[in-house]
C-alpha cells in the first residue's frame, strides 16, 4: 500500500509538472503581443471619398495606409469616381454590406450621407469623418481642417499680398460644406477687417481644372481690375493659374490656392500662384484610422454614449509660398 501511494504521488507530481510546463509554454509565447496596440490583418478599414482619382486623396490615403502599417491592419480605398453624391451613397452602402472594421468618410454634402452613416454606426461599424464633415450624423469624430479659419487665413494672406486694398474673387465648390466655410471665412474677414477690399464674386469651379479656368476667365472679363482670386480647392487653383497664364497676367493677379498637389506646387515654384494653404491631409488619414482602431477595439470608451475621442480634431493649416515650397516637395 505504501508503494502504491508512493507511485501515485510520483505520478501526480509528474502530471502536475507536465501540465504546468504545458501551460507556461503556452502563455509565454503570447505574452508580448497581447499588450501591444496591434490589430490583425483580417480587420479591414475603409476610406470612402468622392472623386477618388484626384491627387488630393492620395495623401490622406497614404496617412491611412501608414497607420494601417503601424497597427497591422488592412485598409481599402473606395468612393465615388465622380462628383456624385448618389454614387457615394451607393459605394458607402456597399462598404457597409461588407461589414468592415471601420469607415472613414469624406462627404461632398453635409446632409446627404447622414442616413447611410447612421446606418453604419447603428450596425456597429465605427465611422469617422475626415476632411469634410457631416455634423448631424452619428459619426464619432471629424478630423479635418478648420475651414472657416483656413478662409480667414487666406483672407489675411490676400490682404497682405494686395496691401489691404483691391477687388478679389473666389472660385469655389458651393455645394460642399468645407468650401462654403472657407469661402465664408474669407469673405467675412475681407468685409469686416479690410474696408478697402471687396469680394466681387464667388464662382463655382465644381472642383474641375477646366471649369475653374473658364469661370476665372469669366471673372477676369467681368472685373478687369480684379487683383486677386482665392481658389478654395486645388484643381480650382491650377485652373485659375492656367487662366492667368493664358491671359498673360502673371504677376498682376495674385492667386491663393488650396492644398499642395503637384500642379499647385509647380505653379508656386513658377510664381503663378502666390500662396497656397497646405492642409494636414496626411494627418487626417493617419488619425482617422487611429480613431477607428480605438473605436473598434473599445479603447475609446462607450460607443453608445460619449466616447473619449474628441468630436473635432483640427489637423492644421500652413501657408506655403515660393520661399518654402521646396519643403513640400519630398526629399529625394
Amino acid at each position: 500500500m505504501k508503494k502504491l501511494l508512493f507511485a501515485y504521488i510520483v505520478l501526480i507530481g509528474l502530471f502536475v509538472l507536465y501540465v504546468y510546463q504545458y501551460q507556461t509554454s503556452e502563455t509565454t509565447n503570447n505574452e508580448w503581443s497581447e499588450h501591444e496596440l496591434r490589430g490583425t490583418i483580417d480587420e479591414t478599414y475603409v476610406m470612402v471619398t468622392f472623386q477618388t482619382g484626384i491627387d488630393y486623396w492620395k495623401r490622406p490615403l497614404k496617412g491611412f495606409e501608414d497607420a494601417a502599417e503601424a497597427l497591422n491592419v488592412s485598409v481599402e480605398y473606395r468612393g465615388a469616381t465622380q462628383y456624385d453624391v448618389n454614387e457615394e451613397i451607393t459605394v458607402l452602402e456597399q462598404v457597409i454590406a461588407k461589414n468592415p472594421s471601420g469607415i472613414a468618410v469624406s462627404t461632398m454634402d453635409p446632409e446627404a450621407l447622414n442616413p447611410v452613416i447612421n446606418k453604419a454606426v447603428d450596425s456597429g461599424i465605427p465611422v469617422v469623418m475626415f476632411d469634410a464633415d457631416a455634423p448631424n450624423s452619428k459619426a464619432y469624430a471629424f478630423l479635418g481642417t478648420n475651414n472657416h479659419y483656413a478662409g480667414v487665413t487666406a483672407a489675411h494672406k490676400m490682404a497682405e499680398l494686395l496691401n489691404e486694398s483691391g477687388k478679389v474673387g473666389v472660385v469655389t465648390h458651393p455645394n460642399q460644406l468645407n468650401h462654403q466655410e472657407r469661402t465664408q471665412g474669407f469673405r467675412e474677414t475681407i468685409e469686416n477687417e479690410y474696408p478697402d477690399m471687396t469680394v466681387v464674386d464667388v464662382k463655382d469651379g465644381r472642383g474641375d481644372q477646366m471649369i475653374s479656368k473658364e469661370v476665372s476667365e469669366e471673372l477676369m472679363r467681368e472685373y478687369p481690375d480684379i487683383q486677386g482670386i482665392f481658389a478654395s480647392e486645388a484643381n480650382g487653383g491650377v485652373g485659375v493659374g492656367k487662366a492667368v497664364l493664358d491671359q498673360q497676367k502673371k504677376g498682376d493677379l495674385h492667386i491663393i490656392s488650396f492644398d499642395t498637389d503637384k500642379g499647385t506646387l509647380d505653379m508656386i515654384d513658377e510664381g503663378v500662384i502666390s500662396a497656397t494653404l497646405a492642409q494636414g491631409t496626411l494627418e487626417m488619414g493617419y488619425w482617422s484610422l487611429q480613431f477607428l482602431f480605438h473605436l473598434q477595439h473599445n479603447l475609446a470608451g462607450d460607443l453608445e454614449g460619449e466616447t473619449n475621442l474628441p468630436r473635432y480634431v483640427d489637423t492644421g493649416i500652413t501657408v506655403v509660398t515660393k520661399d518654402d515650397v521646396s519643403d513640400y516637395y519630398p526629399l529625394d
Binding site: 505520478l11 504545458y22 490583418i41 491627387d55 498637389d261 516637395y329
Partner: protein, 604 residues
Amino acid sequence: MKRWTQINNMPIRYKLISHFLLISILPIFCLALLISWTVERVMEEQVNDNTLQLIDKVNESFEFYISNLQSYTYMIANNEDVEQFLGGNENNPSALSDNKYDIQRYLRNFTTVSPEVAGIMVVNNEGDYVSNELYAPSIMDLTEASWYQEAIENNGIFKIIGRPDGRRLNSIVDYTNDDVVTVVRAVIDPFTEQVHGVVLIDLKLRVIAETVKDVTLGKSGYLMVLDDDGQNIYQPNQPIVSQIPFKWISEQQSGDFSKTIKGEKIQFIYQRSPFANWVTVGVFPAEETIFGLREINFYLVMFIFIIMFFGIPVSYFLSHSISKPIVQLVSFMKKVEGGDFKVRYKEKRFDEIGLLGRSFNTMLTKLNDLMHLTERQERQKRDAEFRSLQANINPHFLYNTLDTIQWMARKQKADDVAEVVESLAKLFRIGLSKGRDVISLSEEIDHIESYLKIQKTRYREKLNYEIKVDESIKNKAILKFILQPIIENAIYHGIKERRGVGHINIEANPLNQHILIQISDDGKGMTPQQLSDMREALEESVNLTENPEETRNKKGYGMLNVQARIQLTHGSNYGMTIDSYENVGTTVKILLPNMNKSDEEREK
C-alpha cells in the same frame, strides 16, 4: 535460464503486478507513440500542402495585380494623347501643356479604379515625362535612369523591378522606394523598333504585404516574397531570416527545404509565380509545423496518465486479490506445520482459491480427527498397560505362594489340589508374560486351558471343553487375554445357566491370511434382544470403553474391552462377531490378523 528461474523466484504478487502493468500500460505507451508519430507525419504533410496552397493563392493575387498593371501599361501606351506625347513632335508649349493635362486626367482614371497603384509615369525618349504623383529632380535625365534602361533592354516586354532602389524618382504623396514595387514597359514602334518611351507604374507594396500578411504559418511563421534576383520584395518586420541566399532556392517551380538557423530548425516552402517570376517563401520553425500536434500530444499524455491512474491501482488490487489468499493459505500451512490445527480458512469466495481453502479446511478436520484417534488409542493402550502392571504386582507374590501350595499339596498327596494350584500358577504366569501386549497363540491357549482347568475343578462334570488349534498357527502372535473374557462369559452366562452338562468348543484355524478363533458353547444363549444389544455394543466398543470407570462393572465389559483392543490395534476390519440362539448356545468368532512374532516385533 538463470533469469527465468529468477522470475520464477519472484513473489507471485510482483509477477501479477508486472504482468498487469505490462499488459495495460505498455501498449498504451506504444499506441501513444504511434499516434503521435503518425499524426506528426500526416500533419506535416498536410501543413506543407496547405502552405503550398496558401502560397499558390498569394501568387495568384500577385499575378492578378501584376497582370492588371501590364494591361494598364498597354492601355496607357495606346492612348492617343500618350502616343502624341511619346511621339515628341509637339513643340508648342501651350499645346504640350494641354497634352500633358489630358494625359494626367487620363492617368487619374487608373488611380480611381485601382487604389493599389501608387503612381504612374509616362516618359518619352527625350526624357520629358508626365505624371500625377511622381516627379524627377530636374537635373536628372530620365532616359539614363536604370529602370528606363532595363525597360529598353527588355524590348517592349513588361518588366518588374522589385524594389526600385536608387531610381531617383520622388512621389508627391511620400511613397518611398521601399513602399512600392515598380513595373516598367518600353513603348516601341512595331515597324521601326524605335523606342518611343517608357511607361512606369508603382504598385503599393502594402497590397502585397496585406496579401502576404493575411497568411500566418503556425505561430511565428510567415510568408516572404523574393524577386527573380533573390532580393526581398516583402518580408515582415521581425523575420527569422533576414535574407535568404538565393542559391537555397533551386530553379524548380516549387519545393521545400529546411535549414538550421540560430540553433533552430527552420522549414522553408516556396513557390514561384510564373508570370511575375517572384518566389513566395513560407518560413516557419519546424517545431511549429504542427501546432496542433502539441495539443494532441498533451491529450495523449493525459490519456496515459489517466490510464496509469486507473491501471496501477487496478493491477495492484487485482494481483492482491489473487496473491493475498494464496499468501494467507501459505501462512496457514506454516501454522499447521507448527502444530496449530485450529486455524481455518474463513473467506467466503467461490473461485479456485476458495475451493482450495475449503479443501484445506476439510483436510485439517480429517487430520484433526485422525490425531484425536491416535491420541486416544495411545492413551487407552497406556491405560491398559498401567492397569495390567498394577495387576501384575500381586500375582507375583500370589504365584510364588501358589507354587509353595502346589508343592505342599503334592507332599501331602492331594494331587487334585496340586493340579488346580498349578493351573492357577500357570494362569498368572502367562498373565504376567513380562508385561508384553502380545503373546503367542499357544501361550494364549495355555492360559485359557489353565483357566478352564480351574473352572472345571469348580463345575466338575457340568463343564466340558475341547480345544483344537491348527499346528500352523500355534506360534502366531496375538493380543493377550482376548479369549479369557469370552470363555468367562460362556461359562457364567452360558453353561452355568443351563441345566445339565455344557460344552465349550474352542477352535483356532487359519483363514486366508487371517486367523479365525471360534468359541462356541451350548449354554443358555441370548434372546434376540440381548443379541442385538450386544452387537450394537460391540459396534461402539471403542467409544464405550473410553471411560473404563463408567463401564467396567457393566455386564459384558470384558467382551467390549476385547473388541475395543482388537479394533484399536488392528483396525475395524478385525474383531469379533457373535451369534446366539436362546437355549441353543452362543458362538463367538474372532478374526485376527495372521502375524508372526517377528512382525509383531517390527510393528512395535
